[in-house]
Amino acid sequence: MNQVVSSSSRKLLLSTAAAILVAALILITVVLPAEYGIDPTGAGRLSGLTRIGQLKALGGAADPAAVMHAHPRKFRSARIEIKLQGREELEYKATLAKGEPLLYAWTVQGGPVHFEFHGEPTEGRWPKDFYQSYQTADHSSGEQGSFVAPFVGQHGWYWRNESSEPTTIVLETSGYYSKLGRIEGGGAE
C-alpha cells in the first residue's frame, strides 16, 4: 500500500489537533444549531440555522400552513344510530379534504363487531382500487379518537356484525367533512 511521504510526528499531531478543532467548530456553530436548535455560540442565530433546527426538533409540525386551517363555516357534528342485522356489513364514511380533521367516538350496543377504518381517494391520480387502511380489529365494542385525512377522499368505517343478532352502532363525529353517510355498494373486503 502506498502512503504519503512520511511527515514529522509534530506535523501529524498538529494536523490531528487542527482536524479535531475544525470538526468541533463546525459542529458547534453549524451542525448543532441546524440539527437540534442548540446554539451555544449564537452563530446559529446570526445565520438563521437555529430557527431551522428548532423547527426540526418539533418534527416540522410548527409550520403554520400545516397546522392552521381557518374555515368560513363552523365544523359539522352528528350523532347517528346505525342498525346492523345479524352478519350484515356496511360502510359509513366522511368526505374530507387533505389535512382536515375528524373527531369520532362509536360504541356498539350488542355484540362486538369487526371493523376496518380506511380511506379511498376521490381526486388525483391513484392506482386502480387504491385504499389506505388505518386501523382494523376483529372484535371491537367501540373506538374513539381523532383522524387527519392524508388525502382528499372518503374516510370511514367498514363494519361487519360478527353475530347473528341485530346490533346498533352509535357514532358521534365532529369535523370539517362535507358529507357523512352510508356508502352504498357493500364492504371493502
Partner: protein, 240 residues
C-alpha cells in the same frame, strides 16, 4: 509512488457505467442517512418477501450514506491496482455482511448513534493510516487488512440496527435481509465506481501528490465531525 498507472485509463472506462448510474441514483435521492419515513411506511404496509424493495433500500442506504462513502474513499485512496481495490473492498464487504446478517438473525440492536460514532472514527483511523501516522507515532502500523475487516464489522452492525428499525416482520425476514445485503453490495459497487473514476482522473494530475496530505486531514476532520454529531445526538436522545 506510481504517478501514472497504465491501468488507470482502462479502469476509468470500466467504471464509467456504474459511476454514471451511481451519480444518477445519488441525485435522485435526498442526501440523508436514515431510511426515510416514506420508505418506512411503504415497508410497514407490506409483509412478506419484497426482494426488489429491500434491494433498492440497501443500495440507497449505501449510495446516500456519506459515512460509508468517506470510509471507502479513505480505503482506496492509495490503492492503485484493481486487484488491491478488489481485495480491500471484499474484506469490507465480508465484514459488514457478516454482522448485518448475524445481527438481524440474532436480533442484536446496538445503539445507532454510538455505532455511527464508531463508523465516524473509522474514517479518522483510515485517514491517519493514509498519513502513516501510526508508524510515525508508535513505530508500528496496525494490520490494514484486519482493520478494514474489523471496521467492516462495525459498519455491518450499524446496517443491521437500521434494518431492524424498519420493523421487519418475521414473514420473509431472511429473503428480505439477504435482498437488503445484495442491495448494499450493489450500492457499494456503484459508489465505488463513482469514487474510483474521480480518483483516477485526479491521480493523473500532479495536484494529487501535492494535496494528498491535506485531503486526508480533511477526511479526518469529516470523521471527527461525524463522530461528534452522532455523540451529540446520543447525548440529546439520552437526556430527553
Amino acid at each position: 509512488m506510481q504517478a501514472r498507472n497504465s491501468n488507470s485509463v482502462w479502469l476509468g472506462r470500466l467504471w464509467l457505467v456504474p459511476a454514471i448510474a451511481a451519480m444518477g441514483l445519488w441525485a435522485g435521492t435526498a442526501l440523508g442517512h436514515n431510511v426515510s419515513t416514506a420508505d418506512q411506511s411503504a415497508l410497514a404496509q407490506n409483509a412478506g418477501a419484497q426482494l426488489i424493495l429491500f434491494t433498492y433500500l440497501g443500495a440507497k442506504h449505501m449510495v446516500t450514506g456519506y459515512d460509508h462513502l468517506l470510509f471507502l474513499v479513505g480505503v482506496i485512496f492509495f490503492l492503485y491496482q484493481l486487484r488491491e481495490v478488489a481485495l480491500y473492498v471484499t474484506l469490507f464487504a465480508v465484514g459488514h455482511s457478516t454482522t448485518l446478517l448475524l445481527g438481524v438473525l440474532a436480533g442484536i440492536e446496538v445503539n445507532v448513534y454510538l455505532i455511527d460514532a464508531v463508523i465516524g472514527l473509522s474514517v479518522v483511523y483510515k485517514a491517519l493510516d493514509n498519513l502513516d501516522a501510526f508508524r510515525t507515532w508508535f513505530g508500528v502500523v496496525p494490520n490494514q487488512k484486519a482493520a478494514v475487516l474489523l471496521f467492516g464489522f462495525c459498519h455491518g452492525l450499524g446496517l443491521s440496527s437500521k434494518l431492524q428499525e424498519l420493523t421487519l416482520s418475521p414473514d420473509g425476514l431472511v429473503p428480505n435481509m439477504i435482498a437488503f445485503n445484495v442491495g448494499v453490495e450493489l450500492g457499494q459497487f456503484l459508489a465505488l465506481g463513482a469514487i474510483l473514476i474521480v480518483m483516477n482522473y485526479w491521480r493523473r494530475s500532479p495536484s494529487f501528490v501535492r494535496h494528498a496530505y491535506l485531503t486526508n486531514v480533511a477526511l479526518m476532520t469529516c470523521g471527527f465531525l461525524l463522530a461528534g454529531l452522532q455523540l451529540s445526538a446520543f447525548t440529546i436522545e439520552a437526556s430527553s
